[in-house]
């Protein structure tokens, strides 16, 4: 095993451990476990970052070109943003969502073929890492908004139907879930916008055109409009709560399709093959 896989699998195992601790906190009602889980995640995110550092050095460029790297980078962004969000909201239950999701992404990454490829020259532009970073951080933020949205709907359902099952005790208040939704939206939307803009500039340097209506671009634009609609609704009409939660969920489903579905189903210049050939 080389240093790269050691770091990668260390992060994978650590995300699994953190997930276990968060779930013990939630199910066993042991708040200590959640705190441990948080520190484990901090270690994980550092090791994981180191693995990207090594990869960057080996590949001689931004190491997010294969599905393996992409999923792994998504997981890293997710954990990083969760930890940042946690600084402000202290929501263990979000950790119980983010850590297992990061673990699953890592598992997906581990199962897809891994090779460190010499980068295609077109990926060597400085705009490529900028584009990638914005896009993935945006995705991760919206993933957190999705989690908060699902929790909001569950909690809202229980409060309305007056039937409280075990999970009710674990969920934070509707207001704070809504604040997470808003925070994620107001952070994620600029990130996504910058991701698209930097992508367009980069496309111009590589293909000589800012926008070529490649499927990924089209779907990203649709998703962008969706989130723009939500942000607009929040700021002008005062959308919030359930409606905002539903929007965040739908938005993320579109995002997932843009991120994975397009690559796997529709093809285009964003496919991993196009990068590595």
């Amino acid at each position: 095993m080389n240093i790269l896989s050691v770091l990668f699998y260390a992060a994978l195992v650590i995300y699994f451990l953190a997930s276990t601790f968060y779930l013990v906190d939630m199910i066993g009602k042991k708040p200590q476990a959640g705190k441990i889980g948080r520190w484990i995640l901090v270690v994980g995110v550092v090791l994981h970052a180191a693995s990207f550092g090594v990869r960057h050095a080996t590949a001689g460029g931004t190491p997010v070109t294969t599905l393996h790297e992409s999923l792994s980078f998504f997981a890293w962004c997710l954990v990083l943003l969760y930890l940042l969000l946690d600084l402000r909201f202290r929501m263990t239950v979000m950790g119980a969502f983010a850590a297992p999701l990061a673990f699953l992404l890592m598992l997906g990454s581990a199962l897809s073929p891994d090779m460190v490829v010499q980068l295609n020259p077109m990926l060597r532009s400085w705009l490529f890492p900028v584009h990638i970073a914005f896009a993935f951080l945006g995705n991760a933020t919206f993933a957190l908004a999705f989690g908060a949205g699902v929790m909001y709907l569950v909690q809202d359902r229980m409060l309305k139907s007056k039937r409280f099952t075990g999970i009710y005790q674990l969920l934070p208040s509707l207001d704070s879930l809504d604040k997470v939704n808003y925070t994620c939206l107001s952070v994620g939307f600029p990130l996504m916008t910058l991701g698209i803009i930097s992508g367009a500039f980069w496309a111009n340097t590589v293909w000589g055109t800012y926008w070529s209506w490649d499927p990924k671009e089209t779907w990203a634009l649709i998703t962008w409009f969706l989130y723009a609609g939500l942000l607009h609704g929040r700021l002008t009409v005062g959308w919030r709560g359930r409606k905002a939660a539903i929007f965040a969920i739908i938005g993320f489903l579109f995002l997932l399709f843009t991120y994975l579905g397009v690559n796997l189903l529709l093809g285009g210049q964003h496919t991993f093959d196009a990068f590595t050939n």
């Binding site: 007056k162 934070p172 208040s173 509707l174 009409v237 005062g238 709560g241 359930r242 409606k243």
Partner: protein, 437 residues
């Protein structure tokens, strides 16, 4: 020495009996002293609350103690003993320990997990220290009970959920709003339960209280009870609703005072900020259809009762965990109790001194080089003699104290002065043959 409990509670006696046997908190001295005058009672504590009256005692003669305590209760309160005895229960030894630990942990309460009982036992213990009726055993025992109650409270969720309607309302509000500090409550009508709930909300930080009533003077009067309370005329209260986050309604009106349509308008003018509405009135004040509106959480009196019932069930589940904690603590306390016996104490004391003797003799001998066998023997004999002489008198006192009333005091003092271990290690060590004898 054993622990004995005689008493009655809401489980065995109706309120007519309980109120007769209650000891008034202002006059605890007389009963305390009368109880201590009973021949079989070495130590005693009287616990008296509206739901239970119990006597805790330490005694060397369990059977006599139980009879004396029962007679004391009936004589002191002038209730024929055949009537009183029907309601009294008695526990001794392990059962008595378990009972008190369960009571202190609020497992035996009418509402499991309610917090008052612990304070009430602490008060009772306060009287016992004031009138010097608690000795070594009950002192230790009640402190044990307090620490067990604390463990149960922190290690189980027994007291974590609300079991009264007004607390349940506050708890639900916390599931909707992340803070109550900037929220406004409006009381519609003057139902007692709503008033109580409003007070709970204020205690939990709610910023403003508005009060409306068909009779404006009553609204003013009730509003004055809250700091900064604002009276609102009944004709205008709907115009104020958009500022209100929590509505507590309990008018005697035969029809709805708040239509779903109006609530919808209010929500819209609040920019969809959620509203929590509690309708305790029967017939109901708020159109139940309002509860279907996005962002409106409407609870009627049955809904709140349902929450309370569910929470009670949850507490019962947690009680099982608490019983396990208590099981462990009983074993520990019994270890201490059994360490209070004379014989093991004497053995432990001798062992402790022998240990010192052995170490010191070895030290001395290794410092004095070139001593003959004879001289070594002499030094050892001297050390032995010192230990035996020192032990002679305390051992006799302990043996005599066994039969006296303050035997435990001496035993506990010896154990403290010589730092003798009190757990099973001590018993096990005693069981081991002392290797240098």
């Amino acid at each position: 020495m054993d622990i004995v409990v005689v008493g009655l509670s809401h489980k065995t006696a109706p309120v007519e009996i309980r109120e007769k046997v209650a000891f008034a908190p202002t006059e605890m001295e007389a009963p305390s002293q009368q109880m201590m005058a009973l021949p079989a009672i070495s130590e005693g504590v009287i616990v008296s609350t509206c739901n239970r009256v119990e006597l805790y005692a330490a005694s060397r003669n369990i059977e006599a103690a139980i009879i004396e305590l029962k007679n004391f209760m009936s004589e002191y309160h002038k209730i024929p003993s055949d009537i009183l005895n029907e309601h009294l229960y008695e526990y001794e030894g392990e059962a008595a320990i378990r009972h008190v630990l369960r009571v202190a942990s609020s497992l035996d309460s009418m509402v499991i997990g309610e917090p008052q009982i612990l304070g009430q036992i602490k008060t009772a213990y306060g009287y016992a220290t004031e009138f010097k009726t608690a000795g070594v055993i009950l002192n230790r025992f009640l402190h044990k009970a307090f620490s067990v109650a604390k463990r149960v409270r922190t290690e189980t969720a027994i007291a974590s959920s609300a079991v009264s309607v007004s607390f349940a309302a506050v708890e639900l509000a916390r599931k909707i709003f992340d803070t109550l500090e900037d929220k406004t409550v409006m009381l519609i009508g003057a139902g007692e339960m709503c008033e109580l709930a409003a007070k709970h909300f204020v205690n939990n930080g709610v910023a403003r209280v508005m009060v409306t009533n068909r009779t404006f003077a009553r609204a003013e009067k009730l509003a004055a009870e809250f700091e900064g309370g604002i009276p609102v005329s009944f004709e205008n209260f709907r115009e104020q609703l958009h500022r209100v986050d929590i509505v507590l309604s309990s008018t005697g009106a035969p029809d709805y005072v708040l239509e779903a349509k109006k609530v919808k308008e209010v929500i819209k003018s609040r920019r969809h900020k959620p509203m929590f509405m509690i309708d305790i009135a029967v017939p109901r004040d708020i159109d139940p259809l309002a509860g279907k509106i996005d962002g409106v959480y409407l609870y009627d009196v049955d809904d709140l009762q349902g929450v309370v019932q569910a929470n009670l069930k949850e507490r019962e589940k947690e009680a099982a965990k608490a019983e396990k904690i208590i099981d462990g603590e009983i074993v520990q306390f019994q270890k201490w109790m059994s360490s209070l016996q004379v014989k093991p104490t004497i053995v432990a004391l001798r062992r402790q001194l022998d240990e010192v003797r052995k170490v010191e003799v070895e030290k001395t001998l290794s410092n004095l080089n070139g001593l003959g066998k004879k001289e070594q023997k002499a030094i050892e004999a001297m050390a032995n003699a010192i230990v035996n002489k020192i032990l002679h008198h305390p051992t006799n006192i302990l043996k005599q104290a066994q039969n006296g009333s303050d035997g435990d005091l001496y035993i506990d003092a010896v154990r403290t002065l010589f730092d003798l271990p009190e757990n099973t290690d001590a018993q096990q060590q005693i069981a081991e043959p002392l290797d240098d004898q």
